[in-house]
């Protein structure tokens, strides 16, 4: 009796997976051709941004659900790209860190060359609890340092997280700010201070 139910359930499951897979999948060569055509008029540097690296490829193909081996391989590969601060200090100036967290320009084709570059952490996270304009794609970081007792080990781990979110969580939706060279080391330190400085509004 139990066994029958189990088999029925298993069958139902595999039937739904099969159905999802049966939806006509796109021919990868045609997807690439469409992308090439869509960006035919931009510079080679910009075109290069549409090439997938190994990690982007796995996350794309698995729709951010890598299997255990894939996840392990991603985290290992991404961890290897994390560079510790040259002087061993993780925390910079929290006031400048606010600018990094609050600036949404940089990396867009509409940005003026040499203009400000920021990580726009606020787009996805609550940080300063008094700031009402924050997004919800990521968890709240309000009180982040205070809630973790400014623990030096946590600070070190968070450096890794912000430097490369996927070193910690494969196929995370959070950008790899350090490894992609999107933020400078100084900017990373400043935004770390915004999370961990006792004077930062994040911890007030």
């Amino acid at each position: 009796m139990n066994k029958t139910i189990f088999i029925a359930a298993a069958f139902a499951l595999s039937a739904t997976t099969a159905m999802a897979q049966n939806a006509p999948a796109a021919d990868p060569a045609k997807v690439d051709a469409i992308i090439k055509d869509m960006f035919a008029k931009v510079s080679p540097e910009w075109q290069a941004r549409t090439n997938l690296d190994e990690t982007q490829r796995v996350c794309t193909d698995s729709r951010n659900q890598p299997n255990a081996q894939q996840a392990e391989a991603i985290q290992k590969r991404e961890l290897a790209t994390v560079v510790q601060p040259a002087d061993g200090k993780f925390l910079g100036d929290w006031k400048k860190g606010f600018q990094v967290a609050n600036t949404g320009t940089g990396g867009q084709f509409s940005d003026r060359p040499g203009g400000p570059i920021g990580a726009n952490c606020f787009a996805c996270h609550q940080m300063d609890p008094k700031e009402l304009s924050y997004g919800t794609l990521g968890p709240s970081l309000a009180g982040y340092g205070k809630d973790r007792n400014y623990d030096p080990q946590v600070i070190k781990d968070t450096w890794t997280k912000v430097y490369n979110a996927q070193a910690v969580f494969a196929c995370s939706n959070m950008p790899r700010f350090g490894s992609m060279k999107f933020l400078t080391e100084a900017q990373l330190k400043d935004v770390m201070a915004y999370l961990f400085d006792k004077e930062s509004p994040v911890n007030k």
């Binding site: 006509p24 997807v31 055509d37 997938l52 794309t60 867009q108 084709f109 509409s110 304009s133």
Partner: protein, 281 residues
């Protein structure tokens, strides 16, 4: 149609004010709802009145452009076949993008209009393409024409086309594009549009990963008059704007990749009611 500019600009100002207070109200909304909600409701009623939505000025301009003789052939677009037969506009937008035998290609509305301009009018489209997105003091023929034509499908339901193999194929390509992660921020459309109830800053993000209400309401509301830009915008502009935020390169206007994305979004939005032009933030 007679509408004074004074009325329109007053309404645009009001719309900005309400849009702003609606955004500010978003957070407060959870706790102390009513005032902002009432205001938004009043605003919605107001903009459902065609006389109050500046997007209808674009509809009027589009109507004139549709029947204006242009190009080397000095003819209008009135024999252009948008899928329902030459010159038939009622309900045509609801079934776009679709496969066109004469071009042997799936086309969305702007690709098809350019095709008609070139084939029927022998119009040099370089200038039209240059003005693809209106800017202060510069109207866009394309945005105006789309407003006019889409409006002829208001009240209809979105009918994604898939019977031709090229339609099914392009829809699948659109789905692949939607989930493709690339660029300096590893973003895909799905980063921002694959979970319900999320937002970036205060802007709510529709979830397109599942078919249903959110996709229907979104796709049924474009083209839309964007108060923050003081212009009527089409899906071409929205895709351009999202690619920008995605840190992908500037997509070529009316390219097949955008058509593919629209095919996929319309598939998720099947059955949604079209009410256009709408008006948004």
């Amino acid at each position: 149609m007679t509408r004074t500019n004074g009325k329109i600009s007053r309404l645009a100002t009001l719309a900005v004010a309400v849009g702003l207070s609606a955004a500010a109200g978003y957070v407060a909304a959870q706790a102390q709802t009513t005032d902002a909600e009432k205001e938004i409701e009043r605003y919605r009623e107001m903009i459902s009145d065609p006389m109050s939505n500046p997007g209808f000025l674009a509809v009027d301009r589009g109507e004139r452009l549709w029947s204006e003789k242009r190009g080397k052939n000095n003819v209008s677009l009135e024999t252009c076949d948008l899928g329902e037969g030459p010159g038939k506009l009622e309900g045509a937008y609801a079934k776009l993008p679709r496969y066109f035998k004469d071009a042997d290609k799936v086309m969305e509305i702007e690709q098809r209009l350019l095709w008609c301009m070139e084939k029927i009018q022998a119009l040099d489209t370089a200038d039209v393409i240059k003005r693809r997105f209106a800017s202060p003091g510069v109207d866009s023929d394309m945005e105006d024409l789309v407003a006019f034509i889409a409006n002829k499908s208001s009240g209809r339901r979105i009918e994604p086309q898939s019977s031709h193999p090229k339609e099914a194929e392009l829809t699948a390509i659109g789905e692949a594009l939607f989930y493709r992660r690339a660029g300096v921020m590893d973003f895909s459309c799905a980063t921002c549009h694959a979970e319900p109830g999320k937002r970036i800053r205060l802007q709510g993000l529709p979830d397109f990963s599942k078919p249903g209400k959110q996709a229907q309401e979104t796709m049924g509301s474009w083209p839309t008059y964007r108060v923050s830009q003081s212009a009527l915008r089409t899906m071409q502009h929205r895709m351009w704007d999202c690619m920008r935020q995605q840190r992908w390169p500037n997509p070529d206007y009316a390219s097949d990749g955008i058509t593919a994305l629209v095919m996929f979004l319309n598939k998720q939005a099947a059955g949604g009611e079209i009410t256009v032009p709408s008006i948004k933030r």
